[in-house]
């Protein structure tokens, strides 16, 4: 009981960090600087994505290269509903999230039977099926032309909204990680057969993990669509986007709460820095090279690497 009321030293540290982060998030939009706000918004959305991806990809060990499919779907549902019904896109975001939750639950049952690389390839295909479906119904989706959304609310709204979603997703991920659900996912990652023998309901937990990781993607897709006021199939259903999110989660450290947040911050910062210093084409070349290099050089992620270096240092001294 006492433990529940009193915070341990580690918790106290964490709370200070969280309070500081939330304070910064409250202050930033008040500055009114558009550049800072836009950057904050983008980083926050990537934090949500990396955190949500981490639920199935990190704890469950299912690498989802078609993550962009659900981001794109969320964006498209938001855009289509808001232009058809002439309402603010942000009001449609929850509907998009729910719809994608249902769709991914249905898709997840057969798809999650695939393992390892087959799952990866299957998810990539799902992404391309969605892309082709968008092209196939030009009356609804405007195909390659893309959809123009109504003018967006002020940037501050987006900043606060993204911050709220990030906080909720992180809390949810924390809850999941420390529950029997998270334990089940971890056991699936370590050895699916053993997990099944021990009595873990594989389909249930995998599909739940899948839905838990796709709903935030859809929500972010919807918010981003409202923010950009224009979406087209190639940017919404982009495998490069999935790879970026996966890299964020991996680089930070899979299966941790802080990892994806750190990864999103670091990678987005690098991405911005490259874009401003090198410009259009060159930054993509360097980005591609960095992508390959980091995966080969830092397989365990930054946090693990830093920790191992620190341990080695303390061992030497």
């Amino acid at each position: 009981m006492i433990k529940d009321i009193m915070f341990s030293k580690k918790d106290a540290k964490l709370i200070v960090f969280a309070a500081a982060a939330i304070l910064i998030l409250i202050i930033i939009p008040l500055t009114g600087n558009r550049f800072i706000m836009a950057t904050t918004f983008t980083i926050l959305t990537y934090m949500v994505l990396a955190q949500a991806y981490n639920i199935l990809g990190g704890y469950g060990g299912y690498v989802n290269f078609g993550y962009s499919a659900f981001y794109g779907l969320g964006g498209y549902i938001t855009a289509i509903l808001s232009t058809q019904w002439h309402v603010s896109p942000l009001l449609m975001v929850p509907i998009a999230g729910l719809a994608v939750g249902v769709i991914s639950a249905i898709l997840g049952v057969p798809l999650l039977r695939l393992k390892g690389v087959y799952f990866a390839i299957g998810m990539i295909t799902v992404n391309f099926i969605f892309l082709c479906l968008v092209l196939l119904f030009p009356k609804i989706t405007k195909a390659g032309l893309g959809i123009v959304l109504p003018p967006p609310p002020p940037l501050q709204v987006f900043c606060y909204l993204a911050a709220a979603v990030a906080v909720v997703t992180t809390l949810a991920a924390h809850r999941i990680a420390n529950s029997s659900f998270g334990l089940a996912l971890r056991s699936i990652r370590e050895d699916e057969e053993v997990a099944e023998v021990v009595g873990v309901n594989l389909t249930k937990y995998k599909v739940l993990g899948f839905v838990a990781s796709t709903i935030p993607a859809a929500v972010v897709g919807g918010i981003t669509a409202a923010y950009l006021t224009y979406i087209d199939p190639d940017t919404m259903f982009n495998i490069g986007f999935s790879v970026k999110v996966i890299l964020m989660a991996r680089l930070g450290g899979l299966g941790t709460i802080a990892g994806p947040l750190v990864g999103a911050l670091v990678i987005q910062a690098i991405s911005y820095a490259l874009r401003y210093t090198l410009g259009g084409v060159l930054h993509k070349i360097v980005w591609g090279a960095l992508l390959s290099a980091t995966i080969i050089l830092l397989p365990g992620g930054v946090i693990k690497y830093v920790r191992s270096v620190l341990v080695r240092r303390s061992a030497i001294s």
Binding site: V63, F65, P110, L111, R113, L114, G116, V117, Y118, A120, I121, G122, I124, T125, V126, F128, I129, C132, L133, L135, L136, I239, G240, V243, I246, L247, V281, L282, K284, I285, W287, G288, A289, L290, L291, S292, A293, I295, I296, L297, P299
Partner: protein
């Protein structure tokens, strides 16, 4: 009657572009079958080879018909470099084979980005095409029309598939490559130099892209980003035909070529692709080793 002939023409056309699809996928199948490498950069290597054909003919006046003698060795060298520079270190640093296989995808995604955007930086995003004295010419008999270049493409595709088949079944190195694809540990035990075979098979996988790009340049226009549209299709052919199964790649490549040609004409290209992708998903779900795959 005219309808029937146009259908026959479409099927013939499908056979010809389908054979090209097969050659484009061949390298993917080989790399995945032997080493478990998911090479998403294959289509970019194909476009790069097409560019090499283009520049050899534009800058040095080389006949495009023989330019595969340039593209294939370049791609072979590139394959060796990539194996030494990326695959070997990745293999050393990953804990399990499964993790290695999954991580090859983002690694090669990075490679694809480097290749693609380097091409944009060097040669702009303009569309390019190769025109020879045979472009636009065709054998015609009644209402049946067979474009010469596409027919050459068919012949070239079958030649390269046949050559590869002979190499894999008749030569010592080829047999060693197949042994490695069946069981890496056993291959090592019987005294096969696994590192050398990996290097060679990887280089062969990439150099088929050199040949595919050479054929590709005759019948398609290309630009640096063109690879993006091809990657999913090539993956579909590989998976449907059977992961690591060369014959499957050939048959399914041609089949999908015919589907693309016929459905693309009567409905739309997007619908044809949806069909192809859904076929692949079904195959993946109910027969993961592919239609022609033996084991795995």
């Amino acid at each position: 009657m005219k309808e029937l002939f146009s259908f026959v023409n479409l099927v013939i056309n499908g056979l010809m572009i389908g054979s090209l699809y097969s050659v484009m996928t061949l390298g993917l199948t080989l790399l995945f079958g032997v080493m478990g490498v998911i090479n998403v950069a294959q289509a970019d290597f194909i476009i790069l080879s097409a560019y090499i054909v283009y520049w050899m003919s534009h800058s040095y006046g080389m006949s495009p018909f023989i330019s595969f003698i340039v593209t294939v060795p370049i791609m072979f060298g590139m394959g060796m470099l990539l194996e030494k520079g990326l695959i070997e270190p990745l293999q050393m640093r990953t804990r399990s084979h499964g993790e290695f296989v999954r991580m090859t995808l983002p690694v090669f995604f990075g490679v694809a980005m480097v290749v693609r955007h380097s091409m944009t930086a060097l040669w702009t995003g303009d569309y390019r095409a190769i025109t020879t004295h045979l472009t636009g010419k065709a054998f015609t008999s009644g209402l049946i029309r067979v474009p010469i270049l596409r027919l050459l493409c068919l012949v070239g595709s079958f030649a390269i598939v046949g050559l590869l088949y002979l190499y894999l079944t008749k030569t010592k190195t080829g047999k060693q490559i197949r042994a490695l694809s069946q069981n890496a540990v056993a291959a090592k035990i019987v005294g096969i130099n696994v590192e050398r075979i990996r290097l060679i098979s990887f280089a062969i996988g990439i150099c088929t892209a050199g040949f595919a790009g050479y054929l590709f340049s005759f019948i398609y226009t290309f630009f640096p980003g063109a690879a993006g549209e091809w990657v999913p299709l090539l993956f579909c052919i590989m998976v449907t035909g059977g992961l690591g199964c060369t014959e499957g790649t050939l048959v399914i490549g041609i089949l999908f070529g015919v589907v693309d040609s016929v459905v693309g004409y009567y409905v739309t290209m997007a619908f044809s692709r949806v069909l192809v992708f859904i076929t692949m998903l079904l195959v993946l779900l109910f027969r993961p080793r592919g239609i022609f795959g033996r084991g795995l």
